[in-house]
């Protein structure tokens, strides 16, 4: 926080034990992401980008190395502490939306606040979040009554409702048609514009990456290339 970096990771490694074999998914990654940046993480499968996303999103801990999220050292936190960090500081947008199918859009958006113990104004905040993604008239609909694009918008509302430090989007347009995909990207980028939210995309899609400011290429558990995107370069 003090030095303006939301994410400050040093020499992060991750080793999985698969039976007898040790798999080195990350071999020492240094990463600095400043507040308000729009970053995409790319790389072929097996490059370690999912692992990196899990660690950056506090779903998992690195085997070694240090990781500060908004100045808090999260590398050695307990499961419940990590849960609290995810709740307050990380918003997730998944490829397959991951909404609770039996709950209304409103309840889905309220979920992170419930785990945060927010009681007063919860409904109001959830409605505002849904309105900000253009779903103010769909709050009582269940996911199966919504289109894919609308479901992803509910997921975005859920991700931003606790005012997180970062929003992590894992192939957010992967399950959507082109038009809905563009809308989703517009909404996400709009969040950055309006609120300065830090966005991190994990994607295969060069077109998505080209809409971001900075592209980090991973290969074999290492950063292969860290560059500004054409969008920024052309400005």
């Amino acid at each position: 926080m003090t030095d303006g970096y939301v994410i400050k990771a040093d020499a992060i490694t991750k080793v999985y034990q698969m039976g007898q074999i040790e798999v080195h998914a990350l071999r020492g990654i240094d990463l600095r992401i400043a507040a308000g940046e729009i970053v995409s993480i790319m790389g072929p499968s097996g490059s370690g980008k999912s692992t990196l996303m899990n660690i950056v999103g506090c779903l998992d801990r690195p085997t070694a190395g240090s990781y500060y999220l908004e100045g808090e050292q999260v590398a050695d936190m307990s499961d419940d502490q990590l849960a609290a960090i995810r709740n307050r500081k990380v918003g997730f947008v998944f490829q397959s939306f991951n909404l609770l199918g039996r709950q209304s859009a409103l309840n889905n958006v309220e979920l992170p606040m419930r785990y945060a113990g927010v009681n007063s104004g919860r409904r109001k905040r959830a409605i505002e979040a849904l309105e900000s993604v253009g779903l103010g008239d769909r709050i009582d609909h269940r996911p199966n009554e919504l289109s894919g694009g609308q479901q992803q918008r509910v997921a975005i509302a859920r991700a931003l409702v606790n005012n997180p430090a970062i929003i992590l989007a894992d192939e957010p347009t992967g399950n959507l048609d082109t038009k809905s995909g563009e809308e989703i990207m517009k909404i996400l980028l709009g969040l950055n514009e309006d609120f300065g939210t830090t966005l991190i995309f994990v994607t295969h899609d060069p077109e998505i990456a080209s809409m971001t400011e900075r592209i980090i290429h991973l290969r074999d558990g290492l950063v292969e290339q860290d560059r500004q995107s054409e969008r920024v370069a052309n400005q």
Partner: protein, 407 residues
């Protein structure tokens, strides 16, 4: 996560798969229903039995021959023993003494015959047992002295022989082939259970000794003793015992007689019915256990099915105990609902048994206590909690990364 929200979510989740939830709680329904029904019926039986024992009278003592087995040369109870008990100096707490000999008899009248129990009694039997006459009179001193061939009938015995219980005085019935004149009919006492007191017949003790039941001179089968009051029963017991010990010259602790009081009968009956109730309740509890395992099974399936949901919940900030609580709420809600339906089922079952019993002329009023309901509710919820614990723990311990990736 707020309690009511958790409850609401659990309800939604359970109702989204109604058939499965219904089948899952069936085990608990049957288990709780069986426990409730068994307890209610057991208690009803207990009430009936203790009620009929209470009908005996609270101030009665029954003295029968025979005591502990080591007694050498046990002596029978005799009429002179009974006579001695009347001494108000030796036994001040005793107000009435009625020696009895009993035997099985066959009565016949105009082709109808009836096997029943006959009592050879003295006139004292009437006040001691509070006998009231429907018609006619009870056995008197004159019948004893004359060894008269007279009989007093219980109302049911009269009904079976004559088809009526009144207007039978003066008729002659045959007992064991010998003619006896009907002296009177007793008022029904009611109360069923062991033996029907309304089917008994009474004849003079002396007549019974000499003409019906062969007994060695003077010996009797039982002496009924009436204490001055219910509170005087224990004193009367002491007095009777010490007098008989003196007369029979037995050492203390080697009585050759046994004294029962109504309290003893009550205690025995209560013990028996308690054991029965516990036994039946135990069997029913096993089905409750099986129901619990059913819940555990379904909860495990549910955890596996909802792995992704668990992963998502963890990703947005659910702690271990949030997940744990969510699944425990579901499993205990399941078993609580099963318990409530089971209580209704148990009530229905026991009522049905009561109706059937009544239609068979058996007095049995199932008694479903509030404590049984409370116990069943608490116990079934506890079963759900206990058997939900393992699946819930499994859900709570899922790694968020793994759970999110689960297909």
């Amino acid at each position: 996560m707020n309690f009511w929200q958790g409850l609401l979510e659990a309800l939604q989740s359970l109702s989204s798969n109604k058939l499965r939830s219904a089948l899952t709680i069936l085990g608990i329904v049957i288990g709780v229903g069986a426990v409730i029904a068994m307890l209610a019926i057991g208690r009803g039986a207990q009430d009936t039995i203790t009620g009929s024992i209470s009908g005996i009278g609270t101030n009665l003592l029954f003295v029968v021959p025979g005591g502990s087995e080591e007694v050498s040369n046990p002596k029978p109870l005799t009429l002179t023993d009974a006579e001695a008990l009347r001494d108000s100096f030796v036994a001040p707490s005793v107000t009435g003494v009625a020696p009895i000999i009993t035997g099985n008899v066959e009565l016949s009248f105009a082709g109808e015959s009836l096997f029943t129990q006959g009592y050879g009694v003295t006139p004292d039997y009437m006040p001691v047992r509070n006998v009231e006459m429907l018609e006619g009179e009870f056995i008197g001193e004159v019948h004893i002295l004359g060894r008269a061939a007279v009989v007093v009938l219980g109302p049911d015995a009269a009904e079976e022989l004559f088809g009526r219980s009144e207007g039978v005085i003066g008729e002659t019935v045959r007992i064991g082939g010998q003619p006896f004149r009907v002296l009177g009919v007793m008022v029904p006492r009611g109360g069923s259970g062991f033996s029907n007191p309304d089917e008994l017949i009474m004849i003079p003790l002396s007549t019974a000794q000499t003409r019906l039941f062969s007994r060695s001179r003077d010996s009797v089968d039982m002496i009924m003793v009436q204490a001055i009051s219910a509170e005087g029963v224990s004193r009367a017991t002491e007095e009777v015992a010490s007098l008989l010990r003196t007369r029979h010259r037995t050492a203390i602790g080697e009585d050759d007689f046994t004294i029962f009081t109504q309290q003893d009968f009550l205690q025995t009956a209560t013990t028996i019915t308690n054991v029965l109730t516990i036994f039946l309740g135990g069997i029913a509890a096993i089905s409750l256990l099986v129901g619990g395992i059913g819940i555990m099974n379904i909860m495990l399936v549910s955890v596996t099915e909802r792995t992704r949901e668990i992963g998502l919940r963890k990703a947005v900030g659910a702690r271990k105990r949030d997940i744990m609580l969510q699944f425990l709420t579901e499993s205990s809600l399941l078993s609580l609902m099963g318990g409530l339906i089971g209580i209704a089922l148990g009530w229905g079952l026991s009522t049905l048994v009561g109706v059937i019993a009544t239609s068979q002329d058996v007095e049995l009023l199932p008694n479903m206590g509030l404590d049984a309901i409370l116990l069943a509710t608490i116990f079934s919820t506890a079963v759900g909690l206990f058997f939900g614990l393992y699946p819930a723990k499994r859900a709570a311990d899922l790694e968020p990364v793994e759970a999110l990736r689960y297909e």
